[in-house]
Assembly symmetry: C2
Homo-oligomer: 209 residues x 2
Amino acid sequence: MKLPSTVMENAVNSFARLPGIGKKTALRLVLHMMKQDKDVVQGFSESMLRLKDSIHYCVKCHNISEAELCSICSSGSRNKQLICVVAGLRDLLAIENTQQYNGTYHIIGGVISPVEGIGPEALQIDSLLNRLKNEDVNELIMALNPTIEGDTTSFYIAGQVKRSHPEMKISTIARGVAFGGDLEYTDEITLARSLAARLPYRINKEDEW
Amino acid sequence: MKLPSTVMENAVNSFARLPGIGKKTALRLVLHMMKQDKDVVQGFSESMLRLKDSIHYCVKCHNISEAELCSICSSGSRNKQLICVVAGLRDLLAIENTQQYNGTYHIIGGVISPVEGIGPEALQIDSLLNRLKNEDVNELIMALNPTIEGDTTSFYIAGQVKRSHPEMKISTIARGVAFGGDLEYTDEITLARSLAARLPYRINKEDEW
């Protein structure tokens, strides 16, 4: 598509380089931008620049942070003895959104995937082992995606941790049928796992498990 | 969703204000941006700013332009006696992409739509009538969307033009079944119109119509 202005073409190309945005969507966004007031566009532009200038990663858990330690690692009200291992920031945000978890995190930055050429050395596993050495941690929760790659990575990390910290409690988030799900359409692996990992039925909160 | 950094939150909100982009997509775009080199982000940011600074509208046809006249209006090789009336820039680009049209355009900026509160005075119809007065035009092609609003707008413009220029040739782009379409699934209005507006079948290019 030939555009009537090179400035506009540059803007369309800038948008079209973003993931999931094609040329037509990019053009729609640029036309939208052009209709906005100048200060809106300036604000947009500046918020992008500031992204690169003032955002860093937490030296402990690799969460995004504006200071050396992220808000979770520096918080006084979080349980520092509990580390939840997640693949990326979006998983951390998903768990934070439940408002049910009060420990800290460790973002390893992905999962082991031979197909994509990602080995364990590309992940933040060494820094996790270092944290276990230097901090007083008593449980590690593996919260990686329930896929082959996620399971492989959990298995690898658990092996490494057990070697240096044989007493460490390692758990993994529960697998089973999702809330609101439909047994009829649940895949066999999930259904078989949720049968094998069945829980005692509690009528009252106080009941014994 | 609570983000770990206000800078990041600003960037996500900036993206989420764009049409068709929700919070989750915005977060994905921001995370992508953060992974880019600084000069890529700077380039993106600058191309947005330049949009507002150096893009204007052609004083004649309201196409986007970096100068007073757009590249089409100032071109020596276009037929200035032919004006194609379109609703917006995207329609202009679609017609330009066919590479079959050699006249000029007039962007009216929308269609008459009482539901959305857009009356004829909100469109660039007066400036079209002015062009007809001052320029040597002999045909007006109405190329608005084939909808109720588009047809209403064409009808209104044609009436205005005929009042001041009774001799003006006014045409409209052909309606009918689309190339590659399926008669079975074509709606009744389109099919009835394409029957009523049937054309003589040409075996050779030289055949009489």
